[in-house]
Symmetry: C5
Subunit: 304 residues, 5 copies
């Protein structure tokens, strides 16, 4: 157990040894083991965007085994997916990679201004599949947000009692926010804080822009001169918003443009004190060797 | 136990022996036993469309015993029906045909843009009636879809714990979709994927057309040149969408035109790697000898 | 045990001996004992229409004991009522008449296009009051119908597990139907079928007219030349819709005009293979001797 | 035990000895003990109308102990109040006065056409506070009425199982009724009947006017010449509506005008066969000696 | 145990010794121990207003440990916060300061006329974190108020059974009230009374203005000449509204203007018989030594 991992675990001192053990498993697995940084492979896009849009560009990815193998070969810290995808490989790859079961999901066959998520798996499912954590998405900014907060609360309580860790995907969305506001720095920071207050061990947010959505927040950012100009600044601020760095915050990339731009973002996350990345489409939508190469580059930045 | 059935069971490795036993019962019953192909008789149309529309064309079919006998005589893999129909014969025909209890149903006496289903039976009912599986309908595209996903999640968890298999009827429908979109290839593939992610062992969808409903999907189908021209192409794509063939996907026919057209469809399902058919109105709405003859023809295609 | 009762019980072969015992109690009580026909006294009109409208014409009927006595003196098969009315006499008349506890009710002090019912009693109440069955109303055609189906499903499962029989009042009503459609032959047949699929042992519908509400149904009625001209034809068709006569279907009268017209209807029910009648306002809104005389006339027709 | 109390208890023969014991405690306490008449002090107006409007006219009444003492000194049969008020004195005055815990409440800080009530206490609370009964308000005529009926059903079942009595405040209100209709004779009679059917032991309604709200009811009142001209007539009719006098019905006063008018109303209740009064604002909004004097006058009328 | 604390505990005589012990811990901790006055540090503003708006002015406050230390150093009676903040320090500071777990929260990323709160923690969480009480917010005046009342009822019952105390934040808000009405004297008094009736041990309201919102209330205030001119008058009235002083009522400040104005308010609370203050932004948004100095000044006023 490295000093850094010990330090990180110390932030979760109210949790039982079971949950700490599972958090340690996440932190001590793969190429970034022991560094306190994480790269997680998430594959819920088949549910969230549709299978052809997700896997059409790299057809082997239709096979659920593909993602287990990608995560293992790339040396990710963990693999996160909905119930069906995990059921389709949990026994074959048992013990080879920490698993995170997404407990809720959403599809885009019905278009709504205020999105919600369906419960699609349970803590009992996570336990029977050997997972280390549950994953849960909330949409701050949606009319249905309070319902999602209440659901994750109940799931998180049950998960912690059973020694699992809790990962919250906090994605601002809904009629309470402008399109631009979904990645505004004030909104992303707020979203990270809400997830932390809801009891998340690991928080996943999008990389924020320098835009500020809320007037009441703008005044404080300006008055206090909170630095938000560079991406690293903004990452640092979001990490501050999550209990001043005492909760693990990881980031998903913005829209993919070029590999160099992606790696630039990774460097900014690292520089800003972010704990790592969750890399979905940028990994499984390209041939596996190519994906492994890219993931290793990303991990190398974090490990450096 | 044939190699093919063993192979199919291997895809469900996270399930307990009880569920695998029931899946094996389904796969090893009737004229297609051991082939890995299935023809299932479903009779929920009395509830879904009304009794006269369903059974008027062949009045003996008003009698619940008729369908047990039809399924047995034709050598179907299983018979699926709502609570009342199964209660009315489960003891008389105990052990003669695997049963699937439909847990939810819908009627057409109230017309709504966004349909939902009522829970009409339970996992406990399925167990007391000696069923091998539960059946459940979801309507991706409906404003109520998240509620249905959450319900099947809960029912499926309970069913699997008790050693039952799970069959999901995934029927895109509702205000999120155009009429044509309900059978669009992207939508049907998406619907099959959602059912797979929700943990279904067997997925039932409609035969898709070459129409594409979602703009975001169209780009991928065109860019990746996903073949969708022939019906066999489309069946193959839908099977890919269900974990690249590692989930059993079966199809209901399009509108009946001629027997030859129906058999043409069966050949396309077979050619595209589909696992079989669910044949309702095309079987019970004609005289039993005629129905048995047609079902045998269908099974012969699958067995060939 | 008469052959006819044995035959009827044989249709419910999935039920446990407890439930069959209670069904037998219903069938073997009163002047029609053993005939396989039933006349049941229902008194929920106080709740459904108000006490003055219900009991004003015959004031002794305000007293809950009155109805127990009427049902006993007339030799009815059973007495059905809401919680309060049964609590008010279940001990005094214990063992004298089979009781059916209505589990849900509705009042007319709030007028709505899509009616619903409130749960007003439980299976546990039915057991403590010594009832043989629960009664439940559904409104096919109402926007709330799926909720009612789900409720009766849960109540019926619990009732059957505890050895009670299940009676469903299936009353098409709501914005999905025209006024005339509430008693249309296709709609009443559909309503009877839904109740049967929901697991009812006894189904109560209104006498249907020859009107057809649904276009899709009309085509079948015409194509198949389903006879619906005489009332007996229509009764026969509704009985067919309820599992081809393998579920007990009873009828409530149309609007009362003359005694002769009422008896004419009874003869048609009998001729069409209906299992009996549920006679509420036509019995308790007249002096008791008069009611007993009329009920005996009705029973005589059924017994003939 | 007086003959009259024995007689009243005999109407509740389906209840267990625990509930009958608590009913007997209510009937055998205070100055009207044994008479079969009741005067109950209810103090939920602080919640329902606000504390200043309720207690401002007599400031000692802000203190929860005041009402216990008032009920005890006046010799009321019972004291009814929400959770907070009972918690604030149940130990100090344990055993000195039968208590009724109001399980639901409503405030007027949000104005709505269709009022509902919040559950604010439980049967378990009633038991731990030593109460003899639960109290529950329903609003027939409100769009939310079915929800309230279902709630009291569940609470009443639990209460009766634990040996408590059930008191229902049945207050017609909501968009289904005109303002005048809330106290219309047909509506009040209907409301009393609904409460009786829901299983209430004691029913509390407002004094009705001679107005008739529902056209369908008017026809019966006129055809049957139901006497509703005098207040005593109307009380008698409401008592008839509650199982022809076999349920305890008590009345709250109309708007206070003069003491003589109030006493006139009490005489009419007595003459019409009403079982007593629930006197809130007319008792606690005046100095205690004055209130005790008035309550004694009222009790004297009932005892005469 | 001081006489004053003994007296206060005597008001809660229906509670079990566990709850009284926890109430005593609150009253006997910190610089005001034994005085019967309380100053509590609440830090839920990160959730309620966003982290930057809350902690930007004093960046060390992003760290959850900061608030434990501030509360301990200042000698507050207790520290109240949402789940995440308490989990992040409950072990490190175990036993050093009584903790209150906020069970529900709300954010401002979705703007609604009728606010509601999400359940974000449970009584079981409060117990495992060693808390002395649960905290709960209600919004009288909101269309969702009845739901919140029902939720706190259930939580409070569970909390009391497990020996925890119950603190209710009663904040009038929603479409039932004008902006000015949220702090109107009649509304604040009403809100305090509702909280007391819901079973709160400690009630937290805002300082009221002399404005009167409800016409029906105005008449009483004027007729009874209830003194509401000075802030001390109004505090006294609110304390009266909470069971004439037999429930602990504490106040949050109005908008911060100057330190002198704040201390003036504290003096008015003290003079009016208020039990103390809950000081959030005025304490954690300034440097800690400065905050401790101010809190000590406030406590000195209460202790004087």
């Amino acid at each position: 157990m490295t000093e850094r991992v010990k330090e990180i675990l110390s932030w979760y001192s109210s949790d039982n040894p079971g949950t700490l053990t599972n958090l340690a498993r996440l932190l001590n697995h793969g190429r970034l083991a022991g560094t306190g940084r994480l790269v997680i492979l998430p594959v819920d896009q088949g549910f969230e965007h549709g299978p052809a849009r997700s896997f059409g560009p790299n057809p082997p990815a239709y096979d659920p085994r593909y993602h287990f193998e990608l995560a293992i070969e790339a040396g990710c810290n963990a693999y996160a997916a909905p119930l069906g995808f995990l059921e389709a490989g949990a026994r074959e790859y048992a013990g080879e990679i920490p698993l995170i079961l997404k407990l809720n999901d959403h599809d885009v066959l019905y278009d709504e201004a205020d999105p919600n998520q369906a419960l699609t798996a349970s803590v009992a499912d996570a336990l029977r599949l050997g997972c280390v954590a549950i994953g849960f998405t909330i949409y701050p900014g949606s009319a249905h947000r309070l319902e999602m907060y209440s659901q994750i609360r109940a799931c998180a309580e049950e998960a912690k009692r059973h020694g699992l860790a809790v990962v919250i995907w906090s994605y601002p969305r809904g009629s309470g926010l402008s399109q631009q506001g979904q990645t505004a720095i004030d909104v992303v920071g707020y979203a990270a804080h809400i997830a932390a207050q809801l009891g998340a061990h690991i928080i996943k947010v999008k990389l924020p822009t320098a835009y500020i959505e809320q007037e009441a927040a703008r005044k404080v950012y300006e008055a206090q001169k909170i630095p938000i100009e560079t991406l690293a600044d903004r990452v640092r601020h979001v990490v501050d918003c999550a209990f001043k760095g005492r909760r693990i915050v990881i980031f998903s990339g913005g829209a993919f443009e070029t590999e160099e731009k992606l790696l630039e973002e990774i460097r900014a996350i690292r520089e800003g004190g972010g704990f790592g990345s969750i890399i979905g489409r940028n990994s499984f939508q390209r041939p596996k060797p190519e994906a492994v190469r890219l993931l290793h580059k990303i991990m190398d930045i974090y490990a450096s």
